[in-house]
């Protein structure tokens, strides 16, 4: 009979499962890596059906309207501006010779400036009763391509939404009772320059007219503005899903 080595109370007890833990974790890591790699290759946006869609609107450039007044028919936003060519390098600046300052204009007592005269006489001037410029509901810091009286959400998404909505035409013949239930989703990927890399119908509404209308809206709306830095990678890698309702 051999004597066994005494066991110290301070030593850690032996763990029979320890030898299996590391291989198990390694196997799971490999499997997870394979799944992620497959997902990266197919690059389909993973949709969470319980995720609440966000709304983003771009406020229109205009003056806020008094809420007590009856509403005006809102005007269509101006067409999007064409992309200007890159600016030419500025020429070398040659300092101009100093010029003497102009003497300040002094008013004679009782003399009125042109603006003041216009204000006084404007009420009696027939020209002042000419057609007033159209009043647009919006904000002083709004966007010329905005389509809403109030802003909401991420600005880039608001621009994206406004641009797609400009081409979001659906046939009037779709019955009202069908319109209530129509929901279609289009998944799209935008590269850092704003070009539409790819898009597809992620969820059909069940109505061919509506499905073709939403796909056409996305296709015609492209290209978009280059996304901001914090959205560049997500939009290219994971894309964004547009959920259309009538």
């Amino acid at each position: 009979m051999s004597a066994s080595a005494p066991t110290s109370l301070l030593a850690a007890p032996p763990q029979p499962l320890g030898r299996f833990l590391v291989p198990s974790v390694l196997v799971h890591a490999v499997l997870l890596g394979l799944v992620l790699g497959y997902g990266a290759l197919t690059a389909r946006p993973m949709l969470d059906v319980d995720q609440k869609p966000i709304r983003a609107t771009l406020v229109r450039l205009g003056t806020p309207r008094d809420e007590k007044l009856l509403p005006r028919i809102e005007e269509l936003p101006p067409p999007p501006k064409e992309q200007a060519p890159p600016p030419a390098p500025a020429p070398a600046v040659v300092p101009s010779p100093p010029t003497a300052p102009e003497p300040a204009k002094t008013k004679a007592p009782g003399e009125k400036t042109g603006d003041e005269r216009q204000k006084l006489l404007g009420a009696f001037d027939k020209m002042s009763k000419a057609k007033r410029p159209p009043q647009t509901s919006g904000a002083l810091d709004g966007d010329p391509s905005g389509d809403s009286a109030e802003a909401e959400g991420e600005r880039y998404y608001g621009q994206l939404s406004a641009q797609v909505k400009r081409f979001y035409d659906v046939s009037e013949t779709i019955p009202d009772q069908d319109r209530v239930h129509l929901v279609a989703q289009v998944a799209l990927f935008i590269d850092p320059t704003g070009q539409l890399a790819r898009f597809r119908l992620a969820k059909s509404s069940g109505n061919d007219l509506f499905d073709s209308a939403v796909l056409a809206a996305v296709k015609r709306a492209a290209p978009f503005a280059p996304p901001p830095d914090h959205l560049r990678t997500p939009l290219q890698k994971y894309g964004i899903v547009l959920q259309f309702r009538p």
Partner: protein, 433 residues
């Protein structure tokens, strides 16, 4: 800690991080507010199969095309742009659909007329241009003297096919024709054609189409003060209400069994509800020194929209017939809101309002949310809206062409057309069954 345990924990941490990144959620952005555009519809000229039918083609064609153009859901293409052969056949195999696709048509409608004795027989076929298939075929017979009636029948059928709802084209309107200082009441088809006079002499105003579509209730000054009468074309008037100082503004309930009207008595003007023959009248408002007028029934027949000056200016109110003392104010914008017309769909009330530029224009207000939408702007004065029985269209009076005329538009203010009526001054239309 054992090295293996430390390694295992590190790997677990890495896995957790990867898992979190793997479930980085893609944003879902909601887009609503579609621009509903009409369906491009090609309607080639109606064909006459018999010589006798040629006389009816022009009248039929005019009515059918106007109905389709006014529906708000079709964009009727200009015939001058058509590329297809005019001698093309009437059935799908004989039609070159690519020619119709080239002009932008999504749907194609062909109609043939033939005379059979004293009847006019029409056949309509609807085709889908994309698929080249026949979607609808319909045959209908009317008296030879009523080609418009045939056109309205086919237009209704076309409307119902696409929308699954009844069309408005086989209904009637009553309106006022101004003749010098007098006001005549006329009853016609929905488009103002085939009109017959109902009340000719004196001053007659505020017509309301009867539940049978063949009579009109109206206010008349023939007795020296405003009373309410009912009359059929060619028949003598029947007195419905003669009480107080003025009885005006009659409106039939949706089931046609009751009427609501405004009655001036003493210091105030109140709303009364009575049986359709004028009996059993009872007041549903009781505000002394104020004016309550212009009742319009809700489609459930249990509520009325009225105009009241109890707040100091004419505003719209909704009152329940079960509890009429609890009137809910509806309009809070503007200081002059009048002539409500409750949509048969129940959600909207159209009304006339005077804006800050002193122009009269048409608006709708959502009964539940109170949201006000403007329908007309910068086009003369527009007033006195009346919804179609299906709630999709509105007929109204407009002075945009210099004289008061009747116009029709969709319930959201689109597609505004003058009715193809004879030259004259017309206003205060009521759209009935």
């Amino acid at each position: 800690m054992l090295p293996t345990t430390r390694l295992a924990r590190s790997l677990l941490l890495v896995l957790a991080t990867l898992a979190a990144r793997a479930h980085a959620q893609t944003q879902v952005l909601e887009i609503s507010g579609a621009n509903f555009r009409p369906l491009p519809l090609a309607i080639p000229a109606t064909q006459a199969l018999t010589e006798e039918a040629r006389a009816s083609v022009g009248v039929f064609d005019e009515a059918f095309v106007f109905d389709a153009s006014s529906a708000g859901i079709f964009q009727v293409l200009d015939r001058k742009s058509f590329l297809a052969d005019a001698r093309e056949g009437f059935t799908a195999p004989s039609i070159t659909f690519s020619r119709w696709a080239d002009v932008g048509a999504d749907a194609l409608v062909k109609v043939q007329l033939a005379v059979d004795g004293a009847s006019l027989r029409g056949e309509m076929r609807l085709f889908s241009v994309a698929s080249g298939k026949e979607d609808l075929r319909l045959v209908h017979v009317v008296p030879l003297t009523e080609p418009r009636r045939l056109a309205h029948f086919f237009a209704d059928a076309l409307y119902r096919f696409f929308t699954h709802e009844p069309g408005p084209f086989q209904t009637h309107i009553a309106f006022i024709h101004r003749v010098g200082k007098g006001r005549e009441i006329w009853l016609s088809g929905w488009d103002g054609r085939d009109a017959v006079v109902v009340a000719k002499e004196g001053l007659n105003v505020l017509p309301a189409v009867g539940p049978d579509g063949n009579s009109v209730a109206y206010t008349s000054y023939r007795s020296g003060k405003p009373d309410i009468y009912r009359q059929r074309p060619g028949a003598p008037p029947t007195l419905l209400v003669s009480a107080g100082q003025m009885a005006t503004g009659v409106a039939y309930s949706p089931d046609g069994k009751r009427i609501a009207y405004s009655l001036a008595q003493g210091d105030g003007t109140n709303i009364y509800v009575a049986n359709a023959d004028g009996s059993g009248a009872r007041a549903v408002t009781d505000t002394t020194y104020f004016i309550n007028s212009s009742p319009s029934w809700a489609p459930d027949g249990k509520r009325l929209a009225i105009v009241s000056t109890r707040a100091g200016s004419p505003q719209l109110y909704v009152l329940s017939l079960d509890n009429p003392t609890d009137a809910r104010r509806l309009t809070f914008q503007g200081n002059y809101n009048q002539t409500p017309s409750w949509s048969p769909r129940g959600d909207l009330i159209a009304f006339t309002a005077r804006d800050e530029r002193n122009a009269f224009d048409l608006f709708t207000i959502n009964v539940d949310t109170g949201k006000v939408t403007r329908l007309t702007q910068d086009q003369g004065n527009n007033a006195e809206p009346s919804f179609s029985p299906n709630g999709r269209l509105i007929v109204f009076t407009s002075t945009r062409n210099g004289i008061p005329q009747l116009f029709v538009m969709t319930a959201n203010g689109q597609n505004q057309h003058p009715l193809p009526m004879e030259r004259g001054e017309f206003d205060t239309a009521d759209w009935g069954p």
